[in-house]
């Protein structure tokens, strides 16, 4: 398996607060990786550095051979738009748009015409058990439905890497596992690499492998032979 994205010795501080102190992790193409660890340990910060949202103070982020840490803001934002997908814990749907427009958004933003984008987005509704909800606005969806819409939006542009920060954090356990089941199924089908932040072991168990973040560093457990 080939490495698609990696962090090498990344340090990052918010002002005086160090959040990452030499974090390294590498993720294979098509792999589903869970990032676990206590609250405040630096999981989200690591995800944001990998995704080119934050720029490390030192260290490197390499995606598909490219040096993300050295890119300009414009380069990073097109990388995020064209190659990455995102799902967060809550609040990511645009309330003024319908569910199907929300899903189509990444396609529209990368210049796909509405005529192609909307049918492509609609196709995800049946796939994720959301039939009939295409025209609802986010306020008219349950938490689990909204999260599935967000998942469809994260995957619609067939990103190389999907970044998911506590995607089931606001859901009850059954709904959360349904979302994970769909996420893993869809990611495997289209060969998407997934980087999933969670502090819940039952959610991390959907991944192929887990790493622990503690005090801004990553401890990868020895892989246990099956």
């Amino acid at each position: 398996m080939s490495v698609v994205i990696e962090a090498r010795d990344v340090e990052f501080s918010f002002g005086q607060t160090p959040a990452l102190r030499g974090a390294s992790v590498s993720v294979d193409a098509g792999e589903i990786l869970a990032i676990m660890g206590p609250s405040g340990s630096g999981k989200s910060t690591l995800l944001h550095c990998l995704a080119g949202i934050l720029v490390p103070d030192s260290g490197e982020i390499i995606f598909d051979g490219a040096r993300v840490h050295a890119m300009t803001e414009t380069q990073r934002s097109s990388l995020r738009r064209d190659r990455f997908g995102f799902v967060f814990q809550f609040g990511q749907l645009v309330p003024e748009l319908t569910a199907v427009e929300n899903v189509a958004l990444p396609l529209l933003l990368s210049g796909v015409h509405r005529k192609q984008a909307l049918p492509k987005a609609s196709a995800w509704f049946a796939r994720l058990g959301l039939d009939g909800l295409e025209q609802r606005r986010s306020g008219e969806l349950s938490g689990g439905q909204a999260q599935r819409v967000a998942l469809a939006r994260g995957l619609v542009a067939e990103p190389q890497v999907l970044f998911a920060d506590e995607p089931t954090g606001a859901l009850d356990s059954l709904t959360g596992e349904e979302v994970m089941d769909l996420l893993v199924g869809a990611a495997r089908e289209q060969g998407t690499t997934v980087i999933l932040v969670t502090h819940e072991a039952r959610i991390a168990a959907y991944a192929d492998r887990e790493v622990m973040v503690r005090d801004g560093r990553v401890n990868a457990p020895d892989r246990i032979a099956s």
Binding site: A205, P221, I224
Partner: protein, 174 residues
């Protein structure tokens, strides 16, 4: 709960009489179920027969507690292996995990590393059960879930214990 391994672990701190071992076993691991003297001595004599302990010196007089026991290299290796290997992740093994953590702290070993090893063994098993759940029937899924929730409970205990190792070390190493 493995009595022979726990006694061996206690012996690794220092050579001891059977009486000392019983006292410490009851204090840390007995939890209202004291170890009978008979079992202490039968266990020690089996450990002696298997070459894991030897008798260091025998005080004059009679009675079983004249003997002081010393752990051998073989015995120490066995304790080391037991502590280092993760326990098969099954529900209801809290007492074994607890004994390992306390002994590791008593012996000044890396208890946090044992907990990390155990965490990844648990997560590995949880991944297998999740795979069964995703591919199997509803009955398989519900059975897998039962295992998953128990393993998750163990993991939470592992997290809490990991966060309190310093305090626990002070409690078990006067």
């Amino acid at each position: 709960m493995s009595v022979p391994l726990t006694l061996l672990g206690l012996l690794e701190r220092e050579p001891s009489h059977g009486y000392d071992l019983k006292r410490d076993y009851d204090a840390f691991f007995g939890r209202g179920k004291p170890l009978p003297f008979g079992q202490v001595y039968s266990t020690l004599s089996r450990l002696g027969r298997d070459g894991k302990v030897v008798i260091s010196d025998v005080a004059p007089g009679s009675g079983p507690d004249r003997k002081r026991y010393i752990i051998t290299d073989l015995g120490a290796t066995e304790v080391e292996q037991w502590l280092t290997q993760p326990v098969d992740p099954e529900p209801h093994l809290q007492t074994v995990l607890f004994a390992k953590v306390v002994l590791a702290l008593m012996l000044d070993r890396p208890a946090d590393e044992y907990l990390d090893t155990q965490r990844s063994a648990h997560l590995h098993r949880m991944r297998e059960l999740t795979e069964i759940k995703r591919d199997g029937s509803l009955v398989d899924a519900l059975l897998a879930d039962h295992g998953l929730y128990h393993l998750e409970a163990d993991l939470r205990w592992i997290e809490m214990t990991g966060a309190r190792l310093d305090a626990l070390r002070k409690a078990v190493r006067p």
